[in-house]
């Protein structure tokens, strides 16, 4: 069910947040509609487990509802939600001490933009070698599309620290994906 516009712009974010924080379930549903997909993707990237990702996303929305009223800057809504989802995925993995065998789906609709399967396997192997923080960094950058400043604010790093870390990660991934 699509609830109003699923797109929340910088102009409308403040009003939607305020309404949702005041208990307006339709406003909160708009936020869910706008961001749930990226949150689920990031949770999956961090955990490597679809069930954990689903649990993490559900937990993240409960947290989001509780703490939405404390969000002072509407521009932080997206980065904040993404890092909450990543954090919940990490917490679940840690509490369950789960070791994941990453599965790569071979089903689903073919898309002209899909990379080949070998690259996906290489990416999965590369992700296995990364810690949760680095996977979160990858998710915030390549799923949520955040810049270094926004990522740094959510991870408690400086923007320059994020850039250096990203550069190291990319150098490593280039090698593993055979792009060097």
């Amino acid at each position: 069910m699509i609830v109003g516009s699923a797109v929340i712009t910088s102009e409308t974010a403040g009003a939607v947040i305020e309404q949702a924080a005041a208990g307006d379930e339709l406003a909160f549903a708009r936020i869910v509609a706008a961001y749930h997909e990226d949150m689920a993707r990031i949770a999956y990237l961090v955990s490597g487990d679809l069930d954990v990702a689903a649990d993490a996303e559900q937990a993240a929305w409960a947290i989001a509802w509780r703490r939405l009223g404390t969000l002072r800057d509407p521009a932080r809504l997206k980065p904040w939600l993404m890092s909450v989802a990543a954090n919940e995925a990490r917490q679940i993995m840690r509490s369950q001490r789960r070791r994941t065998v990453r599965e790569i789906s071979v089903d689903g609709p073919a898309r002209s933009s899909d990379p080949d399967r070998a690259a996906l396997i290489d990416l999965a192997n590369a992700l296995d070698d990364l810690d949760h923080r680095d996977r979160t960094l990858i998710g915030l950058r390549y799923i949520a599309g955040l810049d270094s400043e926004a990522i740094g604010r959510e991870l408690g790093l400086s923007a320059s620290g994020v850039r250096v870390r990203l550069h190291r990660l990319l150098a490593r991934l280039r090698k593993e994906l055979g792009d060097d």
Partner: protein, 478 residues
């Protein structure tokens, strides 16, 4: 909102790949049902909390906490202010620091006070902004390397006055982040470069094209120093190199030599002394005989001696400090610090830095020990060494566990513990009493660096001088 356009083709590929990889998680859902579930799952307390005037109550509570904190801080200030300083009673000469933070250029006093922004590097995701900076020996100017942006790392050299006024900009070819070193008379800067198209995220030495550029405050003095034709590369794009600007090209205090690390055809990497007047170059191997690999060196203040850190063949897991005569190569001192480690451990001296009076060395040692079949620990220890007494004073240390990835490259398995001193970051204050160095913030080098200081005599805890520092240089007025 903060959406970011991919910088180059690989980033675009990463975006597509990551989205494809996570496609199975992107299931459609009923947003209203999800919203209602989340709202209903909150505890009773949480729901009631929203109805009560909780903000007013919380404000009162925070005021009490802040008030208590303020009283505590005031009490501490009175107490600390009345205690004798932990440093020596005589006025200390701690010099002045120029440092890079978030791509911008700052200066501060040697004790970290008086931080002041002097130049903006306009850092973004397409450019690092300022990378490294170095004081001229007379402290009147600053040479700062700035990445001007683009698909490749494109360095330029800004020559500024001490207050940040731009004197001139020297454009350099796209390539590795160059290091800079001032001539002893503060008139010109040596820049080791590797002009090549280097993708922004490639962090390896580049084996194509090299250069040694000398740029002056006055452009008429600019020149390129001829290098042997078999040389292939003199610099690296690794961010670790940027921590200290003189790590890869250094002018000797007497102005005669510029030492460089170079890759040569048929020989691999090595340290060389290049005559500043362009008359030739000599490998440091000619001055050393039992050293497997010279990473860096340091000149004594009078240019007569060179300290050579490295993997000395007869040392095993011990740390060996050797100084040699810069002209003849004769050994002037050699000391061994016995490390208490098991068989198979391997010790290396990462750096040995002369004190301003040339009488002591700040020594950074590295010990690698196997932890399991696939992991090992790296311990770094900072010492102060007195050749006259042959005494090592351990000042601080830190450790990190490492494991190799699928390509055999070692990576930390977690944050470092203790003070994991950054290689090449150790500097003496002008009065020779204190050492400055960089350690990773929260034990994680990816999070940035903190500049710390410690009493070189030992027996004291270190102090934080400046957080969030990418690189720094410490200078002292002549």
């Amino acid at each position: 909102m903060t959406d970011q356009t991919p910088i180059d083709g690989f980033e675009a590929r990463m975006t597509a790949l990551v989205r494809s990889y996570t496609e199975s998680a992107a299931r459609p859902l009923d947003a209203l049902v999800t919203a209602r579930t989340a709202m209903a799952s909150n505890t009773r307390t949480g729901v009631i909390g929203r109805l009560w005037p909780i903000r007013r109550d919380r404000r009162a509570a925070w005021l009490l906490v802040l008030g208590a904190l303020a009283l505590t801080v005031a009490a501490l200030a009175v107490t600390v202010g009345s205690r004798p300083s932990l440093l020596v009673q005589e006025p200390a000469d701690t010099g002045r620091i120029v440092f890079v933070r978030d791509g911008d250029l700052f200066v501060a006093e040697g004790d970290g006070s008086g931080q002041r922004l002097i130049a903006r590097g306009e850092a973004s995701d397409a450019t690092f902004g300022y990378i490294t900076a170095a004081w001229s020996p007379n402290m009147r100017h600053i040479a700062a390397v700035r990445d001007v942006g683009g698909p490749s790392l494109t360095p330029s050299l800004d020559l500024l006055t001490a207050d940040g006024t731009l004197v001139r900009t020297v454009a350099l070819e796209p390539g590795c982040g160059p290091s800079v070193s001032w001539s002893p008379d503060s008139s010109e800067v040596a820049i080791g470069t590797c002009p090549a198209e280097v993708p922004r995220d490639t962090l390896q030495p580049i084996d194509s094209g090299i250069g040694l550029v000398i740029a002056g405050l006055d452009a008429s003095a600019d020149r390129v120093v001829a290098l042997p034709p078999e040389w292939r590369s003199v610099a690296s794009a690794r961010p670790e190199v940027w921590i200290r600007p003189e790590l890869w090209a250094r002018w000797s205090p007497d102005g005669r030599w510029i030492d460089l690390w170079a890759i040569t055809e048929g020989k691999g990497g090595g340290r060389y002394l290049v005559a500043a007047d362009g008359s030739g170059a000599r490998p440091i191997d000619e001055l050393t005989s039992a050293l497997r690999h010279v990473q860096s060196l340091d000149w004594s203040p009078d240019s007569r001696r060179i300290s050579i850190p490295g993997d000395w063949s007869r040392c095993g897991s011990d740390l060996c400090v050797r100084t040699i005569d810069a002209g003849s190569g004769e050994e002037t001192s050699f000391a061994v610090h016995r490390s208490e480690s098991g068989p198979g451990a391997r010790g290396t001296l990462l750096s040995a830095t002369f004190s301003p009076d040339g009488k002591r060395l700040a020594v950074l040692g590295q010990l690698l020990e196997s932890e399991s079949a696939s992991t090992f620990t790296e311990t770094r220890t900072l010492f102060s060494y007195d050749p006259e007494t042959a005494r090592f004073e351990e000042l601080t240390s830190g450790m990190v566990s490492m494991a190799p990835d699928a390509n055999g490259q070692a990576h930390p398995t977690g944050p470092a513990t203790g003070e994991y001193v950054a290689d090449g970051s150790v500097a003496w204050t002008p009065d020779g009493r204190t050492l400055l160095y960089l350690v990773p913030e929260a034990g994680d080098a990816g999070a940035g660096w903190t500049l710390r200081s410690i009493d070189a005599a030992g027996g004291h805890q270190s102090s934080v001088l400046l957080p969030d520092v990418q690189s720094f240089d410490l200078g002292s007025a002549p």
